[in-house]
Assembly symmetry: C2
Homo-oligomer: 356 residues x 2
């Protein structure tokens, strides 16, 4: 198979982990006889520094021209500490999502057996949890009009959803549930928000088309609680952009660490694959970032964008073996891990490569 893959490392540890992700793709191509052609592009803070624009036109063109995108992370404390900054790394990320029509963000939360102890949640609560989140990614309060009034003293953000936006993501979630545990939990705040009431209406209206799927509606506050209390009750979860952002980060604790979680953003055109963790500026340059989320993003890319299931499984199995061999990065190590088994970004990357 011949494919063009665009690598967009972005900021901070995004650069460190994406390098490992790319190496894994190169190894897979070698091993399975594919021809992957790589290009690279800037986004986020590094793009602002180089061009003044968090998503330069050149990057967007390269994205459109590629078959799939492996992305790192964007963000920089400089902007976080300056709420008045006009140009921000995150604008690049949001613009990419919108321009590429990436309305569905899939975040699988699956625990590697070896990491059952790494979570702050009790192993007996976690064991067997396997959740697939569908986070809507191009609507909601992220993309509605926002601004200031009253001489800057009042700020506003408009949340907005249209019927078709809810329907297309809900359909994807229903269909995924069909291939899994046949349970769909739709999360909203319909007791307060009009966008949530529309959301619930649409999901309710679709349900009769999927009679084999058990549908449940939960309020977001309650879902945030149940995810911790009893994660096994969830199978597929579908929710709006903002709620999905919050709940999936929270759910990362089910998998032991954010460093283990990949995501796929798909929709109208080229898919984007990225860790759910951020740019981690507190650990940038230290060489300790866990690259497994990027490696698992590469696996998702092969599976979803190219339909290469065996290749994707080979990656997951390599990670499984590395964990079984006892190797850990700092974030997933615990008091029982021998110090010599705690590896940095590149070293654990090598262990993964060896096992592919």
């Amino acid at each position: 198979m011949k494919k063009n893959i665009l690598i967009v490392p972005g900021d901070g540890i995004g650069q460190e982990v994406t390098e490992v992700g790319k190496k894994v793709l190169i190894k897979i191509a070698e091993k399975f006889g594919h021809e992957f052609i790589y290009d690279e592009a800037l986004m986020g803070h590094v793009a602002i520094e180089a061009t003044g624009n968090p998503l330069p036109d050149e990057t967007l063109e390269k994205m459109r021209a590629s078959d799939a995108i492996l992305f790192g992370a964007v963000g920089h404390p400089k902007y976080d500490n300056d709420p008045t900054a006009k140009v921000r790394p995150e604008q690049g990320l949001l613009k990419m999502r919108k321009e590429l029509g990436l309305y569905a963000n899939l975040r699988p939360i699956k625990l590697f057996d070896e990491l059952l102890g790494a979570s702050s949640i009790k192993p007996e609560i976690l064991k067997g949890s396997d959740i697939l989140f569908f986070r809507e990614l191009t609507g909601d309060i992220y993309f509605g009009e926002k601004g200031r009034k009253n001489d800057g003293d009042t700020a506003y953000d408009i949340a907005e959803y249209s019927r078709y936006e809810v329907e297309r993501i809900a359909r994807k979630a229903f269909e995924a549930a069909r291939t899994r545990g046949k349970k769909l939990c739709s999360v909203d705040k319909a007791n307060v928000l009009e966008t949530s009431r529309l959301w619930r209406e649409v999901v309710q209206a679709l349900a009769p088309e999927y009679p084999d799927i058990t549908v449940e509606h939960q309020f977001v506050d309650s879902a945030a609680m149940m995810l911790i209390k009893d994660p096994r009750r969830f199978d597929v979860v579908v929710t709006a952009n903002l709620f999905g952002d919050i709940l999936t980060d929270e759910a990362s604790q089910i998998a032991g660490s954010m460093g283990m979680l990949a995501s796929a953003s798909v929709g109208d055109s080229t898919g984007v694959y990225e860790p759910i963790h951020g740019s981690g500026h507190d650990i940038t340059g230290m060489g300790v970032a866990n690259p497994m989320a990027s490696v698992l993003s590469a696996a998702l890319l092969l599976d979803i964008s190219f339909g290469l299931k065996a290749e994707s499984d080979a990656i997951i199995s390599a990670i499984d073996q590395v964990l079984k061999a006892g190797f850990r990065t700092r974030d997933i190590a615990d008091s029982t891990t021998a110090p010599e088994l705690i590896l940095g970004t590149d070293a654990i990357g090598e262990e993964i490569l060896k096992r592919i």
Copy 2:
């Protein structure tokens, strides 16, 4: 001390638990020689059934005339399943908050030692956690304009914050931090939302006035994760209405159960004290609801609205003793609890009363 207390049981288990809360207040008055005069009023689904209005004028008048309000919960599955319903129990709750100017919702998350094992989070992660949330309660996307356009096919909700709204809740949080661990974490989504950028600006601008307080800003997604990963790093948390709703429900797992958490809503006039749990229609009428959140709400009422610290402590100590004696309600029982120690709402209420 002579005081007027309004009892507003509301819906579902709200009625069952508030009765216990009231009995505890009666016992305290008896024991400490106060004169508490009670009145009762309708709100929520029961008020809609009786009057068509989730917050009848009569209730609002009684609220304004009272010195403090002990409230239960509102909500009914009937409305949750009908996103098009025009009159809803929650409207009563939101209107009460707005009309009484209850802009600060305090939610203390404190673990009783005896319940260290009841949580899904590991005891060694939890031990010693003690968080006080300040949730803004009269602004944000809860109260901005909301509606439909495009023939009902598009829904919108406007989130809005003004500088003074952020400032008054932030000041309360800074001042509380001063009496506690001297750490304040402000939670927002300033990398995406304009309301959050205003929020962060205001908190940053106030910080120099409180040089003894260490201020940290966290994004809501990251905070949702950190609360589970390392709850002890939090002391006082201040956040917007919607984020506070989600994070405090999640944080209830730190305390073992939502059934253990009370909240105080204060602001311009009469304070309202209520469990953070909802109307629990799945267990209504079964007599199994945990009344401790209502009892602890009564304790908060005495402490915050009447300044009766000894009386408040007497209640907390009674609950502590009941737990030490091994008594549990269903929600906080575990596999080691002897069946005869699992009590219903009234029976555990009696055990609490005996120990005051």
